[in-house]
């Protein structure tokens, strides 16, 4: 029939063949005839042939090869369905020879126009897993990961998990896209993606689980803040932990999926929240999980198991749903026990009475196994909640009179455990149990009773020997377990009450000696040697009493789910409680967040291509193109919440700039810097601490915890350099601030105890204190006595920090009043740390003299010593990749008190990364940093208003960042705004037709991308600040820096 020319006949034949396969009959002899039909035009025949091929191709490899060419033809078929299924079958034929062909096919298909084919290509990848091909496969995966179709996303992540789960670097670029697409991906894909993202997030973000402690520290800190700061701080307390915006994105995007109809998706999201979300947010999953309990029992089982694990760690999550876990008599036993487990975990003082009542019903259940489990649960509740221990014990004793043997036995065992925890006053119960011994046959229970009597035989002196007598009589018929306990009992009694029991014990020992079980024989021998005095074992027998009657620690009644939490929830390994193959360990939180910038996606160049959700993923540009400076990046991409708090610190900086000019020495105003969101601190601190350690040999900076109290005073700005910065540092952990507090009331002091490794903390708000750690650098090489300053001015260290100059403690900001462009001078090297050599720099804002991409920096070097300093030059440079630097010509000689200004050029690559280099003299070298403010990375451009609008029109959407700010009344005039904006950033003014709209334009120095700033004044002293730029990262930083400029008076 297969040879027939008619399709219908062929079809019929194929159907029969498939039917044969289904029945398990061997149809392989038909192989050649079937393979011929692979080229059939009829789709159904084709499909059936495919089914057949998949089944037999492995057995008949040579013949299968005949069909390959047909597949190759089919792969080029105009019908996408045929292309896809050909690929699918091809990849399912496990013939090693065709691996290269498959590889080729997959590659081709991965760039197919139809997403359906691409999806199938992704599926095919995992089938072709072959160590030799892995590299190429990874390439294909990488390509497919960039795909924007929701159809493909799920499959390719699946392939990724299969092929190269450890290549997390491939995800970086696609992370945000995946997050955003997640909701639209089909369900099964969602599950895989969520699992993958969980792992990814665990490696890429820092733990959000520490905010509790953080909050506490905060309140302490507030004490030191002046009133006006207080308000600011309070706001920040709420946002103490500033989550990585990408982390937040993931959580936000997965949340709707909790409402998915697919249980697997809900479970996946639940585990994601469990593993990733801050504790306060994880609670939202419980509702959905409880909902899942309605589904069929397999799902119920898995969900309950996960809930059980969760409920151990965080009771609160499921407490409101306690009643949902009440057991129904129709539930299967496995579900019942799991529910019971959860109920036990959830038990607390408040709900224990209702729970116990519920348990009482369960104990009566017909399902004896379940009843026994309930008794154990009661026991656990009793140990966990001390108030109800007595109630539980009484209840259990009542159960002893139950007619069901299993129940009684179980309660005996539990009572035994309970009594062990508080053995004080339960003689009665023991007596009662001794009576029961006659009726109980379950060995464990009997053994327990015997053990109890033995252990507390002193409390029941009359009964104990009697019990021994009874049991000795029945010794031979007992279970091994019971026999051992009889021996124990005998031994114990012999030691305490040898008069009555000596003979009995010896009788028992004799019986034991000839027992069948070697275990019992061993024990007998052992006990005999110990307790029966004879000359050989003199030494040991003295201690026999101690050995036998030692206080035993009470057993801990623990949940069997206790140790499961190290497995990722919702995985097979978790369910089985053992490692399954292919289980990928969920890594711990990293201490330091890896560079988040890797996730940045270059926004599409042409705005036309730009789509709503995310710019299309572009071909990866060379590494330099990306800002790899983690800290800045972080801030830039930070969500509004982050930038809000950021603005706080920013504003203070501005404060200072204002304040420093009129420098009233007593101003106590902004005594505390909020450096909270300065994640720089972390890295800088680490870096600097070590450096400081090098520099200051006398100080043991590397102590793990350190309390630094310091005062700082800056005298007026007119004599700029006259700064006296003194600190007293103490290695003691004690808070020595009180002392210094009294010395100078207004001086700011704080302590910070910080471990160097404690980086996680560093990211959080409270490490405001870590700013002080920067001051470690301020240590003078030799501890100097504290010179009490007359007044303390706020420390500019934050400013310095922002400007990348934090190396030195008290840089004085000198606002020179140049005509239109006020230039800030930043300290490069303080004279104290420079052994008399001081250096300052400012950005001259001249178009690069050294090259197009260079920002020119003018460095003024001053010699404050009384000797000549020779040969000042730049030494070793530590520049981030891509950054270049044009050095100044070496200064051969600098006279005492002389100063010289040189200019150099630095190509910052449009990033605010720090350029670190060494400033060398003839005999010394000092490490210094220059970190440019974002405003200095720009070059003003002039353009007409029309051009501006045109350009702005092309840079909308993602390329636009905006904010509404409150403008101080004195800032609302045109001149002031222009002056202020231009002061803060190197922008060119665009003539504007409207009075209330001010426009500025610039381009970035390195890449020349446009940066358009619009300030639109609105009523009631607010203004809309809009920045349009391709360099969104710089744009948002600039936005943040400009905000305070306008909002502060």
């Amino acid at each position: 029939m297969l040879e027939s020319s008619k399709d219908s006949a062929k079809l019929d034949a194929m159907k029969r063949i498939v039917g044969m396969i289904a029945k398990g009959k061997n149809a392989s002899e038909l192989f050649p005839a079937v393979v011929k039909n692979v080229a059939s035009k009829n789709i159904e025949i084709k499909k059936l042939v495919y089914v057949y091929l998949m089944r037999y191709a492995e057995e008949q490899q040579d013949l299968a090869l005949l069909s390959i060419s047909t597949f190759q033809r089919a792969l080029k078929d105009p019908n996408q369905l045929i292309r896809a299924s050909a690929l699918r079958v091809l990849s399912s034929i496990r013939v090693p020879i065709i691996v290269p062909i498959m590889m080729l096919a997959i590659k081709e298909a991965s760039s197919d126009l139809s997403p359906y084919v691409r999806k199938n290509a992704a599926h095919a990848i995992q089938k072709l897993l072959d160590p030799e091909q892995k590299e190429m496969l990874i390439e294909v995966i990488e390509k497919l990961l960039k795909d924007r179709s929701t159809l493909v996303a799920g499959s390719v992540v699946m392939a990724f998990e299969e092929v190269c789960p450890d290549r997390i670097d491939l995800i970086h670029k696609n992370y945000r896209k995946l997050c955003n697409l997640l909701v639209d991906v089909e369900e099964w894909g969602q599950v895989v993606i969520i699992h993958m993202l969980t792992r990814y997030a665990r490696t890429q973000f820092v733990s959000p689980w520490k905010d509790d402690e953080a909050g506490e520290e905060y309140s302490e800190n507030n004490f030191y803040e002046s009133d006006e700061e207080q308000k600011e701080k309070d706001r920040k307390v709420k946002a103490t932990y500033i989550m990585d915006p990408d982390h937040r994105l993931l959580l936000r995007n997965t949340k709707p999926l909790l409402q998915s109809r697919n249980a697997a998706v809900v479970m996946a999201v639940a585990q994601l929240y469990w593993h990733l979300a801050p504790k306060s947010e994880a609670g939202i999953v419980s509702k959905s999980l409880v909902r899942l309990l309605r589904s069929n029992r397999e799902v119920q089982y898995i969900v309950l198991q996960n809930i059980a694990t969760m409920s151990i760690q965080r009771k609160g999550m499921f407490e409101p749903y306690l009643k949902s876990f009440y057991v129904r008599s129709t539930d299967p036993t496995m579900i019942k026990t799991l529910k019971l487990e959860i109920l036990t975990n959830l038990a607390n003082e408040a709900n224990i009475s209702t729970l116990l009542r519920e348990f009482q019903t369960y104990v009566k259940s017909q399902d004896k196994q379940f009843a026994a489990a309930t008794i154990q649960a009661i026991g656990r509740c009793a140990t966990n909640i001390t108030e109800v221990t007595d109630t539980c014990l009484n209840g259990l004793v009542c159960l002893l009179s139950n007619r069901d043997e299993i129940v009684v036995a179980e309660s005996v065992v539990v009572i035994k455990k309970l009594l062990q925890t508080q053995p004080a006053h339960h003689g009665e119960i023991i007596k009662h149990m001794a009576k029961l011994l006659d009726n109980i046959t379950v060995p464990v229970a009997r053994a327990s009773i015997l053990w109890l009597i033995g252990e507390y035989c002193e409390r029941v002196p009359k009964i104990a020997p009697d019990v021994l007598r009874k049991t000795a009589k029945s010794f031979t018929n007992e279970d091994d377990l019971v026999k051992l306990q009889i021996l124990n009992l005998g031994a114990k009694l012999y030691l305490t009450n040898s008069k009555q029991t000596k003979l009995l014990t010896q009788y028992v020992l004799n019986l034991g000696k000839y027992d069948q079980s070697y275990d019992i024989r061993d024990r007998t021998r052992f006990i005999r040697q110990l307790i029966v005095p004879n000359e050989k074992s003199g030494a040991l027998s003295k201690y026999a009493k101690k050995i036998f009657l030692a206080q035993k620690p009470a057993p801990l009644l623990e949940s069997p789910f206790k140790d499961r939490d190290h497995f990722q929830l919702g995985t097979l390994s978790h369910t089985l409680n053992s490692r399954a193959t292919g289980y990928l360990e969920l890594s711990d939180w990293p201490e330091v967040a890896p560079d988040p910038s890797v996730r940045n996606v270059e926004v599409a160049e042409s705005p036309k291509e730009w789509t709503g959700i995310l710019g299309k993923t572009k071909k990866e540009k060379p590494a330099e193109k990306f800002y790899s400076e983690s800290e800045e990046e972080e801030d830039e991409s930070a969500s509004t919440s982050a930038s809000e708090s950021e603005s706080g610190s920013e504003s203070e900086k501005e404060d200072k700039e204002e304040g420093s000019s009129d420098e009233s020495s007593g101003s106590s105003s902004s005594s505390g810097e909020s450096s909270d969101s300065e994640s720089d601190n972390k890295e800088n601190t680490a870096k600097k601490t070590s450096r400081a350690a090098d520099e200051s040999d006398s100080e043991d900076i590397k102590k793990k915890a350190k309390a630094i109290s310091r005062k700082r005073s800056t005298s007026s700005s007119s004599d700029t350099e006259s700064t006296s910065s003194e600190e007293s540092s103490s290695d003691s952990k004690s808070e020595s601030d009180s002392k210094s507090d009294s010395e100078s009331g207004k001086s700011r002091s704080a302590t910070s105890s910080k471990k160097e490794e404690k980086t996680i903390q560093d990211r959080k708000a409270p490490n405001k204190q870590d700013v002080f750690l920067l001051d470690l650098d301020d240590f003078c090489p030799v501890p100097t006595p504290v010179a009490v300053p007359t007044a303390a001015v706020l420390s500019p260290s934050l400013t310095a920090d922002l400007e990348g100059l934090s190396l030195l403690s008290s840089s004085v900001i000198d606002v020179t009043t140049q005509v239109s462009v006020p230039t800030k001078t930043h300290e490069l090297l303080h004279r104290m740390s420079g052994k008399g050599l001081a250096a300052h720099y400012h950005f001259s804002r001249q178009p690069g003299i050294f090259g197009d991409c260079m920002v020119s920096v003018q460095v003024t070097v001053t010699n404050t010593t009384d000797q000549k300093i020779e040969n000042i030059h730049i030494g070793e440079k530590k520049l981030p990749p891509g950054m270049r630097m044009h050095e100044f010509n070496p200064i051969e000689c600098l006279e005492p008190a002389g100063s010289i200004t040189v200019s150099m050029g630095i190509d910052f690559c449009d990033s605010t990364q720090t350029a670190s280099f060494q400033l060398c003299t003839k005999d010394d070298h000092f490490s210094v940093n220059i970190q440019p403010p974002v405003g200095e990375l720009l070059l003003p451009v002039t353009m007409s208003e029309k051009d501006f609008k045109k350009e702005q029109g092309m840079l909308t959407g993602m390329n636009e960042t905006s904010a509404t700010i409150a403008v101080a009344p004195q800032n609302s005039t045109r001149l002031v705004i222009i002056e202020r904006v231009v002061k803060a950033a190197n922008l060119g003014i665009v003539p504007s037709g409207q009075d209330n709209i001010h426009r500025f334009a610039a381009k970035t120095v390195h890449s020349g991308s446009l940066m358009l700033v619009t300030v639109e004044l609105k009523e009631s002293s607010t203004a809309q600040l809009i920045i349009n730029t391709e360099k969104t990262v710089i744009g948002s930083v600039l936005l943040r820096e400009l905000k305070p400029v306008l909002s502060q008076g």
Binding site: S8, K47, L48, S114, N120, Q259, Q366
Partner: protein, 328 residues
């Protein structure tokens, strides 16, 4: 089920090839590929008598040779080119009460599981919105993927392009915190005496808070303890069966007439010699109340956009007992 109506062994045997084809489309190397029945139907057309006739005559197949367009579009759940002469959209609001009632008749736990099942037969690509009178009730919901989640979040309106045919639009859960009105009560008196091998058995079922609706389809089942040999019972209405092997008593009551409450009375004969069971059996109850959603959920209106014609709309409410248990 969408293919063959019922999923039975015979059916699978008869259609083994189709099953193979369907499974092949659904799974690829063990990974789920396409599980949306609408798509599968387009790929592989369900066998109908008409089609088999046509196939044998024309030699065409019931395997679609075009990739269903839906899969590539943004609405992968809907087939394209749907046509009906009668355009209709029916929604069933079905609520199930899960409850545990204790001995004395007080509710230990009660929750409502609700679903809205829809049967939508509309031409073209209709865009429906469904709004509720009291959407606040729905705080724990799961949706069919077609529902636009954003819209729900902001306006509490279900907006969706429905799949074709029957589907479950959403399911929701009204948890134990909210007070759930239990529509029926059970009075029971079951006692075993220690001395004799006889026990008394008496159940009465009555309506409670049904808002004037009749309780129908009442069915009482109870798993008797092992010691029970037989039961001699007389119901005031309906029929009862006791299976002496599984010890399962079931009593099909039917409608409850509030004037004359149904009851089941009689004796239980126990195995001689065994002691009385320590636990009284639990009673599982089933019932149905038409035209009532016990949670109080009400659909406000259904609007259709995107298509010209006027569809026929219908909504039905029903309350059922889910896992309704009475402990005795």
């Amino acid at each position: 089920q969408d293919y063959f109506g019922v999923c039975s062994e015979v059916m699978i045997k008869d259609n083994v090839v189709v099953v193979y084809e369907v499974l092949e489309e659904m799974l690829d190397n063990g990974f789920p590929l396409a599980t949306e029945s609408n798509i599968l139907k387009e790929l592989i057309k369900p066998p109908t008598i008409l089609r088999t006739v046509v196939n044998t005559i024309t030699g065409s197949t019931n395997v679609g040779d075009q990739l269903p367009t839906g899969q590539l579009s943004v609405v992968p759940w809907r087939r394209t080119g749907v046509k009906y002469t009668n355009n209709e959209a029916y929604f069933d609001v079905i609520e199930e009460i899960d409850a545990i009632i204790d001995k004395s008749g007080s509710t230990i736990t009660a929750e409502i599981q609700g679903v809205i099942d829809a049967c939508v037969k509309l031409t073209g690509m209709p865009d429906l919105t469904l709004s509720f009178m009291n959407p606040r009730l729905l705080d724990d919901v799961s949706f069919h993927p077609c529902v636009r989640f954003k819209r729900w979040e902001s306006e509490r309106i279900l907006s969706f392009i429905p799949p074709d045919g029957n589907f479950r639009l959403l399911s929701y859960h009204v948890s134990a915190q909210n007070l759930v009105a239990i529509p029926v009560y059970v009075k029971h008196n079951i006692s075993f005496r220690d001395s004799s091998s006889l026990g008394r058995f008496e159940i009465t079922v009555g309506p409670k808070q049904t808002m004037g609706k009749t309780v129908e389809g009442v069915m009482v089942t109870s798993q008797m303890p092992k010691g029970v040999l037989n039961m001699t019972l007389t119901p005031s209405q309906g029929t009862h069966i006791f299976d002496p092997v599984t010890k399962l008593l079931s009593w099909d009551v039917g409608k409850i007439n509030p004037q004359k409450l149904p009851s089941l009375k009689g004796n239980v004969s126990l195995q001689a010699g065994t002691s009385k069971p320590d636990e009284n059996p639990t009673i599982n109850l089933q019932f149905k109340i038409q035209q009532l959603a016990i949670s109080g959920l009400k659909v406000n209106r259904l609007d259709m956009y995107g298509e010209k014609y006027k569809p026929f709309k219908g909504i039905k409410y029903m309350t059922k007992a889910g896992k309704f248990q009475v402990r005795t």
